[in-house]
Amino acid sequence: MMDHDEQLKIQAYLDGELSETEAREVAIWLAQDQDAGVLLAELRNTRQGLAGYEQPVQLPESREFFWSKIEREILRQESPQTAPQIVPWWIAWRRLLMPVGGTAALVLAALIAGGLLGGSGRPAMETAAADTGALTYRDDDGGNTLVWLSYPAENEFAESQPASTLQ
């Protein structure tokens, strides 16, 4: 019985994939070995059976419809949304620096609000969280604190109560 390499050699001989020397050797072997000759005949029959006998098929769509899909896809892929845009370097830099500048402004604002730059000696104006109608002015250096109360109070609680209850 032939081994697999021998079987493949017969096939390569049939397909013309062997060198001239190898092909001569295989031809001699095929003439002497009946099994090898039978296998060659089977492979040849299959090969000849296939050659030129591919089932012809037709695209089951009309020319116009098929082309319209292709054209649409080509145009879609070539549209400006998908096409890479060439951006001048100064615009690219501006795009890069704008978020950096924004972040720096936010940090600065946070520092000012936190009193890190202003120091504790400066007077401060505050709005009481509990009562948005009250405004406080505090001057630590002078030791003064002034509180303004709006009357009638402009808050939710005051609006829901009759004026008499506040008096």
């Binding site: 039978v38 492979l43 059976g49 006998y53 089932q55 098929f66």
Partner: protein
């Protein structure tokens, strides 16, 4: 160039026009070769919908890569290579998704085909052309993707072992094995069909 001119122009002239951006010339090329491109996709995928989608994708790619086409092969051959590569990519994706069965692995290694007795009579001898084509088509549909692809590329696209190996991304040895088992299985399937036909 008007559309009437396109229909009478030969492929190289249409290719030149399309390469310079003439879409009407490209449309004429699509019309001329669409059945061949679809047919190749269908022979590999065995699924009408997939074959339509892949052949359409091939045409879009063809347009986008037109600058790369130097005319070393015919336009039809160049387009066929594009659709073959797309089909192979799709088959690889599908293979990754499905679990390999023991049967499929056995088929890949040729375990079953190695034991099959040699078919001595020519199974397509004496058949009408249409009948032969039908039987070959039926037999091809029963092969695994790997075996069918290698057979299609060798017998229908007339590629050499080396070219098939490069296209499929495997060794020449694998191509030879797959081709051998594909042919052996085809011989048995065609012989069985002949027996059924005689009954």
């Amino acid at each position: 160039m008007s559309e009437k001119d396109h229909s009478s122009a030969d492929d190289p002239a249409l290719v030149r026009a399309a390469q310079s951006g003439d879409m009407a010339a490209f449309e004429e090329l699509v019309a001329r070769h669409r059945d061949k491109i679809y047919g190749r996709a269908y022979s590999m995928m065995r699924n009408e919908e997939e074959a339509i989608d892949l052949s359409q994708e091939a045409w879009v790619k063809g347009w986008q890569r037109f600058k790369q086409f130097q005319g070393e092969a015919s336009f039809g051959t160049w387009m066929t290579r594009i659709v073959i590569n797309l089909c192979l990519d799709q088959l690889r994706k599908q293979k990754r998704q499905r679990t390999e069965s023991i049967e499929a692995m056995d088929e890949e290694s040729g375990g079953v085909e190695r034991q099959m007795p040699v078919v001595t009579a020519n199974p397509t001898a004496g058949l009408e052309r249409a009948e032969t084509r039908q039987r070959i088509d039926r037999a091809l549909s029963q092969l695994s993707h790997e075996h069918r692809t290698v057979l299609v590329l060798h017998e229908f696209e007339e590629m050499e072992y080396k070219e098939i190996a490069r296209t499929m991304g495997c060794s020449i040895g694998t191509v030879m094995s797959r081709l051998f088992y594909a042919r052996r299985k085809m011989a048995v399937l065609l012989a069985d069909m002949k027996k059924e036909g005689l009954r």
